[in-house]
Structures are given as C-alpha cells and as structure tokens.
C-alpha cells in the first residue's frame, strides 16, 4: 500500500508511526464491541476501556467446530483460517477485498474474509469451502461446478462457490443476467464465467 505514493507526497504519519498499530487497537476494540452476547456487558466495557494489543486468545466457530487460536487482533479472518487453522481452501488473491477469492459465509452472509478481522468473527458461524460438503456428499453447487467445468486453475473457485451458494439463497440467481451481476464480485482470470453461470443456474433451478 505504501508503495502507491512517492515518499515526498505522503501525508503526515500517525503519532506512533504506523497505520498498523491503529488497526491493532481498533481491531481489538471493534472485535469486542461487535462480539456476541455470551461475552458479558462488564467484560465488554472493560475491553473497550483498554488498549488491546499483543497476542491474545480468540475462539472461532468454523464449520461447526469451535477452534481456539492465539493471534494478534490485527489478524484477518482469512489469515486466521489459512495460517492458524490450516484451512487453506479460502484463497488470498488480493488481500484488499477486490477479487472475492477469500469469500466465506458469516452467519450465512457472504463476506470477504480478507477485510474481516478474525476477532470480529468470534461467536459467529463461519462457513468455509471445507465445511460445505456433508462428509463425502458434495453440496449441489460443488457438484454443478465439476459438471459444468466452472473453473480452471481453481484458485477463485472456493470464493465463487461460497458466493454462489449465498447468491442463490439471497434470491439473486433468478435469471442469468441477475446471476452475472451478483457474481461479479468474484473475479476469475481463467475466464470460467459462462460455466459458473451454468452451474449456478442449475442449482438455482432457473431456466433462462
């Protein structure tokens, strides 16, 4: 990011020198502020009154299982999944919320996990591509992606499928044109778009 501006054109640095340290604090506080009700009000207030930094323990419910990791509050959900939980199905394509390869479901809603701090996902249901199949039985959209060849390299695929599942549930796949529009947050450089639309169409059950 810092590479995008010549040195002499940069604005004044934050007081303690970095943007990241802001995130350290803001992330921690925000995470707790948005945290679920099982954290007591008192705990919340205590948390909000102090600076959160350094490595701390956090609990993430991923694919139905609660997992505990020790990480800094600035760790994104994507990096928590990939680097701490070895759930590498969610991909990092840009780390800037621009490509959709990191799409996961949080409480059923599709989000870019690279723009979500892990602490903010505490107490919520996170579903990743690894949790979509029921044991050996693939989700219908996974099956449809294989049948319609909805991918080539496979790197955007997890995000496409998670996004597609949500797109169908949202009712945004009632026609091909609507599906194309609502799937446009997930980039595919191999160019599998027509096949992705075919897969979503089949599962959504629309005929256009």
């Amino acid at each position: 990011m810092s590479d995008n501006f010549p040195p002499d054109q940069r604005g004044p640095a934050p007081e303690d020198g970095t943007r990241r340290s802001f995130m350290k604090q803001a992330g921690g506080i925000l995470g707790l502020a948005l945290a679920p009700p099982f954290i007591s009000k008192a705990e919340r207030l205590t948390a909000l009154s102090r600076k959160v930094e350094g490595v701390s323990e956090m609990q993430l419910k991923v694919n139905g299982t609660v997992r505990t990791i020790r990480a800094e509050p600035r760790v994104t959900l994507l990096d928590a999944l990939r680097e701490h939980l070895d759930l590498t199905g969610s991909k990092k394509g840009c780390d800037l919320g621009q490509c959709g390869a990191c799409t996961v479901l949080i409480d059923g809603r599709r989000v870019n996990s690279c723009l979500t701090l892990a602490v903010m996902a505490q107490g919520k249901e996170v579903t990743t591509i690894e949790g979509l199949a029921k044991n050996d039985e693939l989700h219908p959209l996974q099956t449809a992606f294989i049948k319609h060849d909805g991918f080539q390299c496979g790197y955007c695929t997890s995000g496409q499928i998670m996004s597609g599942v949500a797109c169908i549930n949202e009712g945004h796949a009632s026609s091909d044109d609507q599906c194309r529009e609502w799937m446009s947050g997930n980039l595919c450089r191999c160019g599998a778009y027509p096949n992705i639309v075919a897969a979503v169409r089949e599962v959504a059950g629309n005929k256009s």
């Binding site: 600035r74 199905g89 496979g154």
Partner: protein, 777 residues
C-alpha cells in the same frame, strides 16, 4: 518418426481420449483440498515480506533497519548490505544465460534503483502481520534521478536491436522487395496501433516457500509453470547440483506466462531461508504482482499494406517500437504471425526498442501473436471495408496454401472449415455489410471476426509409467497444471494407452523428482506430455511383449515381438486377435508386481526432424522440420455500443478452432472460452498505467486494473474442427492455450468498427476513445 509408434496406429485407442471427462482434480478444487504453493504448513515456518522502492531511478544512500528489527517477532532483515552472496547472478549476460533468467538484474545486489517497486529489503518475522509491519518501518533514503517512463518519453533513446525476445527473433527481417512492391500497389493502407501495458494477474499471486533440509539441499514450493526451469535457475544461482534443488508445484492458480520464469523473489526467499535456518514463505502482494513477474510491454505498431484492386496482398511492412528494461532486449515477436497469416510475396519487419526504468517485460499469453494479430486483422478489415468486400471473402482470397514465411507446406491447416463453421454458427450471413447501420434500440450493433493462429513450438519431455499387476497404474511427469486440465487429459491418455479405465490410473505431476517435462507455456504442454506418456506406455508394452514371447505358458510363446500388439490391456497377435492374454495374467504368472516404462515425447519440429531441430539455433528450431506447424482458428464477435456512454459490451461470441487432436472436449472448450475472455479484457479494459513523470504505477490493484467480470461476458459458443496431423507428435496434438486469445482483440475492434463506422486502433477500447471517435448517437 517412421520407426516410432503413434497414437493413431494404436488399435482400440481413442475411446477415452477426447471425451468430455470431468476434471480428475475437480473434487479437490471444489472442496478446497487442493494445495497451492503457499499452502504447505512446514514446521517452524516464518514469513518473508518484500519492502520495495518508492522511486523508479536513483541510488539508496542509506537503509536504516534499526526500528524495524526491534519489532516483536522480527527475525532478520536482508538488504543489499547483508544479502548472502549467490554463486551466480543474472547481472551479467553469461549469468543470465546460465540461469535462464528473464531479467538481467537481481535486486539487492547493489544500491542502484532501476525501476519502481524494485525490492530493497526482505523482512522475515514469525508472523505475516509482524513482517508486513516491520517492512513498513524500514527507512530508505534515496538519491533520486529522473527516470525514463517509456519509449514515448522524450528522454528515451530509440535503438535498433539485432535480436529481440531474448535472442529468438531477428530485429529485422525481409522477404522479397516490399518497398517497391508497395510503391507499385494501387491500394496502400498505413495504420498505427497502440497497446497499453498488460499484466497477467493470475488469481494466485507468485509465491515461494523455501525449506533447507540440509546445508546443501533445498526444497522449494513454488507457484511456477515449470518446476524444471525453476530448479535450473536456483541450482545455477546457488551453485548446487540440480538434484539438490527440489521444486514442487502441485497446483498453480493460473500463470499466463508470468510464472514461466524464475523471478527475483524466488532466490531472495531461498537465500533468506538459508541464512536464518528456518523455512520461509514469501507471497507477493497484489500490488507487487504488477512489478515482480513481468508484463506485456507498452508498444506501438505501424502496419503498411499494399494490395491489388482485387484485394490480393502485395506487400506487408511492419514496424514495432516498444519499451524495454535497462538490461534486456525483450519484445514480443509480433511480426511472426503477420509474416505467415496470408499469402503475400513481400514482407518486412523491424523492431525498435527504448530503455526505460521498468522491469523486463515477458511472455504473456500469445506473446507477439496477440498484438500482432490485432494489427494485421484490423488492417485486413480496413481493406475489406475499402474494397466493399466481405471480410471472410477477403481472407479467403489471400488464403495461404503454404507458409509464406518459409515456403514450407503446412503440417495441417483447416482454417477454411473454421471460417465456414464459425460463420454458420454466428449467423454471419445476416450481417449488414454496411458499417454503422445496425441498431438495437439505442445501441449500435456490430459484428466482427478475425483469424487466429499459433505455432507448434519445438519441445520435448519425459514420462514414466508404472503398471501394476493388480490393474492399476501410476503415471508421472514433472509437468504443471495451470488449470488447463493437464491432470485430467494425461490421465485419459494414460488410460487409453494402457487399456485401463480412468479410475485405475493416477497421474502425478509438479515435482522435479518426477521425469523432466517442459514449462507449461507456449501451448507445448498438452502435446509434449501426452506424447511422453504414450511413449512410456509403449515401452511397457514392449517389455511385456518380450516377456510373453519367451514364456512357454503364454499363448504368444515364440511369436515375433513385431507381430504382437496390444488392445484394451491385452497383448495379442496382429493377425489373430483371438490369440493373446491380459497383461495382468502374464505378470502374475511371472510373479511381477509391477513393470515400468519410460518415454521421451517430442513435439513440433523435433518430432519430424530431430537432428535438424537439435542443430538449429534457438531462434530457428520451430521451423527446422519439413512442414510448417500451426494451429488455426477464428473468432466471431458481436458488440453493442452505447453511443451516449461509449461503452462496448460483447453480446455474442463464437470461436471455431482446428488444433489437431483435442484431448478433452470439456476442458478444451473451457480453455478457448477463457482465452477469449482474456483477449476481451485486453481489447476493452486492461491497462497498467505508468506515470510518465515518476515511472510509477497508478493502478496496481484489481480494483483499478480492470479484468472482465462475470457481467461482462455473454454465453459463448466454441467448436473444434477435427484434424489429423501426423507430423507434429505421436499424439497429433497442437495445443490450444494461446490460440484461444489470438485475434480476439481484432474481432472485438472489428465489431466496434462495424457498429460505429469508426476504427479505434488503440487498446484498450475504453469509453472515452469511443466517444472521442465521434460517433453519432
């Protein structure tokens, strides 16, 4: 080639090859199980992050790591002051050649800055976040100099290189007498075409994970299109024997050329891992992807065309000027396709370069053929318009029955069938010949077409087949699968060659411990690897035949080996198919659990004329054979142009190609669709913007560098023309990775011309260019 077996002669073969089989790696990809290069959780793994230069030219006067190194978790910071020395760097021509480096410069070997975002430090820490943060704390002081931004910069010095494309293409070529032929031509058209910088931008960023298992042995998990080439580069740079450098790439998230070479981040990570004694993973950020693994260069081409009143080409003169780096004479070889697409007796091509403060550009899908076809195919469209002739008619009038550039016959060419079938599928006959005359509501509708062609490059590879008596087989070749379907099509080839079903075959790739295969690039992988596997299977059959004819208990006892063939897993007599036995029965009787065969697959000129190809220099291997070997095809495009907004939307698409044997109808269709979309991106939206004062990049992200999204792409129709080509390799495969995008930009531009009556010769065709062309709404 006569003595070698070919897939065409294999009885019973072909049952599985060609079928639209679902990808064998599909399940791993849709469940997230497929592990890409940056996804191997090694014990003790730590994270490397690059700090890059904020200026494009100058010197580092001071680099202060004191604050960064104090941060928690920081393990080491490498700069030009403390980077361990390599045995060889690409900084000399000899070093570059030995390494096979794409760029004659390795960052962190000195204090000079040559391009924006050049790496200046590698920061290693125990977590990714800490490394990223610490990298931002490294203080770099520069002595700035005024950079040169491109060949258009007034400070740039334009020169005539002897060779371009790393020595593979002559800087100047000529056939006949083009200048006087042009002067004598009643029709002369001269047009200049410009192209923005394009970046490959595969979805998976480049990455390296280096693990030193001993002081002199390293394993590298790399996102590369060729494990062998990375191994070669690292072994040269590190001064280690090849076998002590292992490179693994099980899955790769796209490449399109940028992962075809070993770029600086790879040796830097390997050195860092060695210095700290722990495995290091370094993943390029998306912004860094614009300045770390090459790009398609900014360029301008002027094409002058001479023709008779009837439309027969008399002369083609092509001039290209482009930007190159401070060290290398790289330019895509645009002229090659212009030289051979149409019958034309007089031809001349010159390349000019200017050095600027940029990294070296590199091959990007259809390097040369993509921009070259834009120029020739738009000019042909202009000629057709000027003559009032149908664009396909004009192309048929100039149809090249043999290769005009060499005079050699084609190994096969089914372009006429492609034109005919494409026109039929597209409904070309319904096109109003008059430009700017078709409307759909407020939209201007246009239909355009263009020809595609791509060479069969000379290449070779190896494979190993292990056939078990229990009816399973493991087949191996150190190839990669970029998403092109290598895992799947090679499983099909192995199954057919061994007479097994697909579920009994496992194909392994992506590891230098496996038999050597070429880079997946230049469309060579499918033909080379499939031929290698086919040959390895023949080796197995020959060994089994030898055993059978010596075994008294075999029905084939005392038969002559040359009288024995195989069909669906059985060894049989050629003239009495009832006489024979299953390989499993033979192996069990002989108490063999398994048998191995190896094969060397040759592709292109090396297959037809092995001696001539090995004797030829690197620029002429492809045409060392007796035939000129190319795939051909055609794209048809319909666009809707909004006259008020200047937006261009592709509304229909048809591609018809002839590329020898198609190994899998489903994955091949996907590849053609994908290449067409890649080309639509370059035609309508893709451009990396380099500031012409700072030589820095203003849009290095996927939000600002636009690639097509789902909503940009309509349904697409793809067909293949069956083609039997016995000259190119044992499988008769030409490869389709590149041809899928050749001609695409021209088909789009020709459709825009047909819609608006205005010719836009500058890519990408963005709304402001359409509006500035002055169309009537």
């Amino acid at each position: 080639m006569d003595i070698e077996p070919t897939f065409f002669d294999s009885p019973g073969a072909g049952g599985i090859v060609g079928q639209p089989l679902d990808r064998v790696d599909g399940r791993d990809k849709v469940t997230g199980k497929a592990r890409y290069a940056a996804e191997f959780p090694l014990p003790g793994l730590v994270y490397g992050v690059l700090r890059t230069s904020e200026i494009a030219k100058g010197k580092i006067t001071r680099i202060d790591t004191a604050a960064a190194v104090k941060e928690p978790g920081v393990i080491a910071i490498f700069t030009h002051e403390n980077l361990p020395k390599l045995a060889k760097t690409p900084n000399t021509p000899e070093g570059k050649k030995a390494i096979g480096a794409p760029m004659g410069f390795l960052p962190l070997t000195g204090n000079e800055i040559h391009y924006a975002n050049q790496p200046v430090a590698v920061v290693v820490a125990d977590t990714f976040e800490r490394a990223t943060h610490a990298a931002s704390l490294v203080k770099v002081s520069y002595e700035q100099a005024q950079p040169i931004a491109s060949f258009l910069d007034p400070k740039a010095e334009i020169f005539d290189p002897q060779k371009v494309q790393d020595g593979k293409t002559d800087g100047h070529t000529r056939r006949g007498n083009p200048k006087s032929a042009l002067a004598a031509s009643p029709i002369q058209l001269k047009a200049t075409y410009t192209h923005a910088i394009n970046n490959h931008n595969p979805m998976e960023p480049g990455s390296t994970t280096a693990h030193w298992e001993a002081a002199d042995r390293v394993t590298v998990y790399e996102s590369t299109q060729g494990v062998t080439r990375t191994q070669q580069a690292l072994s040269e740079m590190l001064g280690l024997p090849r076998d002590q450098v292992r490179v693994i790439t099980k899955y790769i998230g796209g490449g399109f050329g940028c992962k075809g070479s070993c770029w600086p981040h790879t040796p830097l990570t390997v050195l860092a891992a060695k210095a700290i004694g722990r495995p290091v993973k370094l993943v390029l950020t998306r912004p860094q992807m614009f300045t770390s693994m090459g790009h398609r260069e900014d360029q301008t081409q002027t094409l002058t065309l001479g023709a008779t009143k009837e439309g027969k080409l008399t002369a083609l003169i092509h001039e290209k000027t482009s930007t190159t780096s401070p060290w290398d004479n790289y330019a895509e070889s645009n002229s090659k396709i212009i030289d051979l697409l149409y019958e034309c007796p007089n031809f001349e091509a010159t390349y000019q370069l200017a050095r600027a403060n940029v990294m070296t550009s590199t091959f990007m899908r259809a390097p040369g053929e993509a921009p070259g076809s834009f120029a020739i195919e738009c000019s042909m469209d202009d000629l057709a318009a000027q003559l009032g002739m149908d664009p396909i008619q004009l192309r048929l009038l100039n149809y090249a029955e043999k290769d005009p550039s060499t005079g050699k016959p084609w190994s096969s060419k089914s372009l006429k069938q492609c034109y005919a079938r494409g026109a039929e599928l597209f409904g070309w006959s319904k096109r109003n010949p008059k430009a700017g005359a078709t409307r759909d509501g407020k939209y201007l509708v246009g239909m355009g077409m263009a020809t595609a062609s791509y060479p069969v490059h000379n290449s070779q590879g190896t494979a190993r087949v292990r056939l078990y008596a229990d009816g399973h087989a493991v087949v191996q070749s150190g190839a990669t699968d970029l998403g092109t379907g290598t895992y799947t099509v090679m499983t099909q080839v192995a199954a057919d060659s061994l007479g097994l079903t697909v579920d009994k075959v496992r194909f392994e790739l992506g590891d230098t411990r496996l038999p050597t295969a070429p880079n997946s690039g230049g469309s060579v992988a499918a033909g080379t690897v499939s031929s290698s596997i086919y040959m390895a299977a023949q080796d197995v059959w020959q060994k089994l035949t030898k055993l059978a004819v010596q075994d008294k208990r075999s029905p084939l006892y005392r038969a002559k080996p040359e009288e024995v063939t195989n069909e669906k897993g059985r060894l049989i007599l050629k003239n009495d198919k009832s006489k024979g036995e299953d390989f499993a029965a033979l192996m069990k009787r002989l108490e063999l659990t398994d048998i191995e065969g190896t094969g060397n697959g040759k592709y292109g000129a090396g297959y037809e004329s092995g001696m001539a190809a090995s004797a030829a220099d690197s620029g002429h291997k492809d045409d060392a054979g007796q035939h000129s070997m190319h795939s051909f095809g055609t794209h048809f495009c319909e666009v809707r142009v909004d006259p008020e907004l200047g937006t261009v939307r592709v509304s229909r698409w048809v591609s018809v190609h002839a590329a020898g044997r198609i190994l899998n109808a489903k994955t091949a269709r996907s590849q053609i669709i994908g290449g067409s979309i890649f080309g639509i991106g370059s035609a309508l939206m893709e451009q990396t913007v380099r500031d012409d004062h700072f030589a820095r990049y203003t849009n290095a992200s996927l939000a600002d560098y636009h690639i097509p999204v789902n909503a940009d792409i309509p349904e697409m129709t793809v067909e293949f023309i069956d083609e039997h080509d016995p000259y190119i390799n044992a499988m008769g495969v030409k490869g389709i990775g590149e041809i899928s995008m050749v001609g695409v930009a021209a088909a789009v531009a020709n459709a825009v011309f047909h819609a608006t009556g205005k010719r836009i010769r500058s890519l990408p065709i963005t709304p402001e260019k359409v509006l500035n062309a002055g169309i009537a709404s």
